[in-house]
């Protein structure tokens, strides 16, 4: 979707503010919001793409106003309810509904090292899936404007770049986020001259590299 999250190239969002000696979490609730999300992940009720899309659905004014972990909190609640792990009544009351069966957590202390950094990614090698493009080939990013999830930023659409790396086979976020299948296909690092993206104001020695799927590209 052409949402506010797709902000590459926007002006007016203010200066970059660096906090010296920033802690990993600024408060207990930030830490808890983060690890609750990580601990619920292995229930496999949603994947990384659906999780990203849920944050994109936050209304733009709120998206810009909220802190990072406020957005994570909103996402977690929405996905818990949407996938039925928790009911809205339970969120509202803070208590399990009468008759709800107590589960056994998927993540025990012993599994923490295993799941802490694991995003359950599919293998990237799949000889049966051939790449549509080759390294060194010039390609155009397609001019698409899906209302659902996509990882092709607006600033690159319609622009011409060169494939520099074939990253192997990856699930396509556009379908994966919506339960429409992994649609695994080749992912490439595509090098775009900044002048192609931003016109003559850009330095001719600047380049932007994006990771783009077969479905995002077309032959020139």
């Amino acid at each position: 979707m052409n949402g506010i999250h797709d902000m590459g190239g926007m002006h007016g969002l203010g200066p970059i503010e660096v906090e010296p000696d920033e802690p990993v979490f600024h408060s207990e609730w930030e830490a808890k919001t983060f690890v609750l999300t990580r601990a619920i992940g292995p229930w496999r009720k949603w994947n990384i793409d659906a999780g990203r899309h849920q944050i994109e659905l936050i209304p733009p004014a709120d998206y810009l106003r909220m802190t990072y972990y406020e957005k994570w909190y909103v996402r977690l609640v929405e996905l818990l309810v949407k996938t039925g792990l928790v009911t809205q009544a339970e969120i509202d009351s803070g208590k399990p509904e009468q008759g709800s069966v107590r589960q056994t957590p998927t993540v025990s202390v012993e599994r923490v090292p295993e799941i802490a950094l694991n995003r359950f990614l599919a293998p990237t090698v799949e000889p049966g899936i051939a790449p549509l493009f080759g390294v060194g080939e010039k390609v155009r990013a397609r001019n698409i404007h899906p209302i659902g999830h996509t990882r092709l930023p607006r600033y690159a659409r319609g622009k011409v770049g060169t494939i520099v790396i074939d990253h192997g086979v990856h699930p396509l976020p556009d379908t994966s986020a919506h339960g429409l299948g992994d649609n695994r296909q080749h992912l490439y690092s595509v090098r775009f001259p900044s002048r192609e993206l931003w016109g003559e104001q850009a330095s001719e020695r600047d380049f932007v590299y994006l990771d783009l799927w077969d479905s995002y590209l077309e032959r020139i």
């Binding site: 902000m7 990993v24 950094l117 990882r151 990253h167 990856h170 900044s194 590299y209």
Partner: protein, 200 residues
């Protein structure tokens, strides 16, 4: 009136809301409180830019390791004990006097957790995400790094599950330093590509 609102306070009830959610999820048996504590401990103490600094220092002192790192980052990172299954989607980008790499995620905040830990607020912020791709040299200047015009700048927008870490240039005059001493020089920002490494 306008500017007053840009740094709005977090709703004071976030603490209460998250506590309520946590106790609900615990009570429903969806999460284990001890596992939550262990997860917090992992992210606060076990991952972080020190991991990446070890990778960088090793690459500086060991040309063969560096070659392996640039050719197959996941395997080379695993040699140092960092979880290979995470690294498999990772690439190392070498900065040189001719080429400067920097990393951003314009669409959300993708970041190489296993080697750098969780990202700082500025990396996740709208100002960095919006500007890094359209004005990288301006952004670098705000970080105190002015690059000569002739240096090529490569901005890596992390749009997929590939994670990028920058291998900064080893500063001059560090020939006599040990690998451990070199590790202490390597900052998080230099591995995101918004800074160079200075001699201490």
């Amino acid at each position: 009136m306008g500017a007053d609102h840009t740094h709005q306070a977090v709703p004071s009830d976030m603490t209460l809301r998250v506590k309520a959610l946590e106790s609900l999820l615990v009570e429903k048996g969806l999460v284990d409180p001890a596992a939550l504590d262990a997860l917090v401990d992992t992210y606060e103490n076990k991952v972080g830019p020190r991991n990446g600094a070890k990778v960088v220092a090793r690459a500086w002192v060991d040309p063969e390791y560096k070659a392996r790192l640039l050719a197959d980052a996941p395997a080379a990172i695993a040699e140092l004990g960092y979880r290979p299954e995470q690294g498999e989607q990772m690439m190392v980008l070498e900065n040189t006097p001719e080429v400067h790499n920097m990393v951003v995620c314009t669409l959300c905040s993708c970041y190489p957790w296993p080697v750098l830990g969780l990202p700082p607020v500025w990396y996740k912020s709208a100002p960095y995400r919006s500007r890094a791709v359209i004005d990288p040299r301006g952004v670098l200047k705000e970080f105190g790094l002015t690059l000569p015009d002739e240096v090529e700048v490569r901005v890596w927008d992390s749009t997929a599950e590939m994670r990028y870490i920058v291998l900064p240039e080893r500063p001059e005059g560090t020939g006599g330093m040990s690998e451990e001493e070199l590790q202490t020089l390597v900052s998080r920002d230099s591995m995101v590509g918004v800074a160079k490494v200075d001699r201490a």
